[in-house]
Amino acid sequence: METARLSPLEPLARAYVKAVAAQPADGGLFGPKSMVWRVNRDRSFPLAGMRSLMVQALHPLAMAGVAQHSAWRQDPFGRLAATSSYVLTTTYGDTASALAAAAWVRKVHTRVRGTDPQTGLPYSAEDPALLLWVHAGMVDSIVEVVRRYGRPIEPADLDRYVAEMVTFAEIIGVPREEVPATADSLRAYVESVELRQATPAAKEAIAIVLDPPDLDAETRDLWHDLAQVAVGTLPDWAREMYGYPAPPAELMEREPVRQLLGALDLAFESLPGVLEARQRIELRTRA
């Protein structure tokens, strides 16, 4: 746990601390009693994040947008921190901060357009269909991972979560009525999208997610375990598109996965300000 060994977590920690303001003006888009507040700080989130990226990358046009317009290859952890910061700000920030963050992303999206070399199709990051895909990839992953490895939660509460998260899609530009509002309909939507495939760009990107450069040996071991578990949470069709084998069943057992997540979470919590930010959230949910 020397400083250098925690370096991949540091941008994430800074984003976390910054997103959870000490003096928010109001309860934000969802409020301290919401399911969104509860689920979006589940300790299994790193796993949900990995799975989200793997699902989202399977839409060739969404992937092309990232591949052609983002500098994520130079700084994968910085990119991850930016996404994580967006989710945290829209969840725990006050309404003004949440809407400002969404407005900024929409502005960036106006410049993200082009043609996917694989399918030859044009794309735009303002396209509600693409935005819905990205939203669904994330929310479906959170539901799946929290159900398996998170704090025990009732299925009805997960549906409530999915319904509350409709607002998440709305502020980024998807008409509310187009967003599935239950866990099952969300999964059905994902599996109904025709244009699903693992393009070379997707395979290359996900290979880096699963084996990021510049990790020291011990951290890399732990990361690989986590990545394998993330692969194991994918639907078979998604895993097969990437050509990954199903991980052994014992690797997927709840207890050891939670131990891995707990160790990672403790390392994260030991970084300056993280524990205090979490306590601020906890106190607001109790107020």
Binding site: M1, T3, R5, Q259, D265
Partner: protein, 463 residues
């Protein structure tokens, strides 16, 4: 309002005056005569975050399960080992050590109901629902028993025993994490050490037996006090003992050097006497487990990790001291270490190296002269213990029987080092080594000798 809560309130209102009377009354003794005054005088620790208290077993699992409790214990061990650890590392460790919030009064009460068969209000005459101290896997409440004794009730977090057992079974993950955190150290022995310690800590029945062994032996001792267990109010997850008040280790650090030296002497005597005369060793010499009183008197708390020794366990250790310190017969010293299992027989290492490396552990008793134990001295000893790279590493080992005792090196020296304690440790040890039976060498030694004259059975108690 029940009778007990109104009595509680009354005692708080009159606390100021009560404490003034108390100061006059205690005199040279440890304990307030009145349980109620003692109840009021044991202070609540400010650092407990009651506003974040854990409300359910689920929340306990979230905060302390899934490796977190286990790794926090590791952090505590790390703070013994690395005197010169990087400031950032030290900062993260101290953040983590204080991160576990207490249980709510209701959750703690639910454990009391399950373990003692009634609510705290039914089981005790008075019960303070706010814990006054954190324990590593629980918290401590003060209470007054139905027969009027002031007690400290240690309540274990619900579900923690099961989750710690399961976490310790995941040895592969633990070793990788420890390897990442402590490059160059022997991760296998660190993880084994940690496993032993935690397994024993979750068993309060075992702890109660150990504590009572020490409490009985030290009854009437002029400088050493161990609170007795209240067996009828103790179970696997609840441990009730006499309530003791006193200054914390941090407070002792603000006292003058003479007080620190006296306290260190008493701690040193306690460890040596317990090992050589009681044949028992309390393996958790953590600063939080002592309470200090002026003039060198110390109360010892927390016996979660006690090891009992047989004559056969002790014989090679006694031989090693004899040959190294008195007879200066280094081949015989080496043979004693081999007999004990610390060193493989026939290791291709010169005896000179053996004496140099293992002699380190006897540094405080080699010379008949006053010696100051410094923090850097303490951490050098401890680091050597876990050193996986030294010339003896391939041939040395810590046999199971002595693992707990090696914690002298982890904890005791760390404590004495942070006190910068000075004494003629050799003379004190000579009083206690059974093969020397030396004369009292200090005023505390004189008082102890007087105690032994009136309690001759304590000169050597065999378990």
């Amino acid at each position: 309002m029940s009778a007990s809560t109104s009595a509680l309130r009354q005692s708080r209102v009159s606390r100021g005056a009560a404490l003034a009377r108390l100061a006059l009354r205690i005199g040279g003794r440890y304990v307030a005569r009145s349980p109620r005054l003692l109840f009021a005088s044991v202070e609540r620790r400010g650092e407990l975050r009651h506003d974040l208290a854990l409300r359910s077993a689920d929340e306990v699992a979230e905060e302390l399960g899934a490796m977190k409790g286990v790794l926090m214990k590791l952090g505590q061990m790390a703070s013994y080992i690395y005197e010169d650890m990087p400031a950032t590392f030290r900062a993260s460790m101290s953040r983590l050590q204080h991160r576990a919030p207490p249980m709510t009064g209701a959750l703690a009460a639910s454990v009391i109901v399950e373990e003692l068969g009634g609510t705290p209000a039914e089981v005790f005459a008075e019960w303070d629902p706010l814990p006054f101290a954190a324990a590593s896997i629980g918290q401590v409440h003060r209470a007054i028993t139905r027969d009027g004794r002031a007690v400290a009730v240690k309540v274990q977090y619900p579900g923690i025993a099961r989750s710690i057992t399961s976490d310790l079974r995941n040895v592969g993950l633990l070793r990788r994490i420890v390897g990442a955190a402590f490059p160059g150290l022997d991760t296998r022995s660190l993880v084994d050490e940690l496993g032993d310690r935690l397994q024993e800590e979750v068993d309060y029945v075992r702890e109660a037996e150990s504590q009572e062994l020490f409490a009985g032996y030290y009854d009437g001792h002029p400088y050493i006090r161990v609170p007795h267990v209240i067996p009828e109010l103790s179970t696997e997850r609840v441990l009730t003992s006499e309530l003791v008040s006193g200054a914390t280790f941090d407070e002792l650090l603000t006292w003058d050097q003479r007080e620190k030296d006296l306290a260190a002497e008493t701690i040193h005597r306690f460890v040596f006497r317990s090992l050589y005369r009681l044949h028992a060793f309390n393996g958790d010499p953590h600063p939080g487990n002592y309470l200090f009183h002026r003039g060198g008197r110390v109360s010892f708390l927390d016996f979660g990790l006690t090891k009992l020794f047989t004559d056969d366990d002790l014989a090679p250790l006694v031989d090693a001291v004899r040959f190294l310190v008195f007879e200066k017969d280094y081949e015989a010293f080496r043979a004693a270490l081999e007999r004990a299992g610390f060193l493989k027989p026939g290791a291709p290492v010169p005896t000179e190296t053996v004496v140099d490396r293992f002699g380190q552990f006897y540094g405080t008793v080699l010379q008949d002269a006053p010696m100051t134990i410094t923090p850097s001295y303490a951490s050098a000893i401890v680091r050597r213990f876990f050193d996986a790279r030294g010339p003896l590493a391939p041939y040395s080992d810590v046999p199971r029987a002595y693992v707990v005792m090696q914690r002298i090196n982890l904890g005791l020296y760390a404590v004495l080092g942070s006190l910068h304690a000075t004494a003629n440790w050799r003379r004190i040890a000579e009083e206690i080594w059974p093969f020397r039976n030396g004369p009292p060498s200090t005023p505390i030694g004189e008082a102890e000798a007087e105690w032994l004259r009136t309690n001759p059975q304590k000169v050597l108690r065999i378990n």
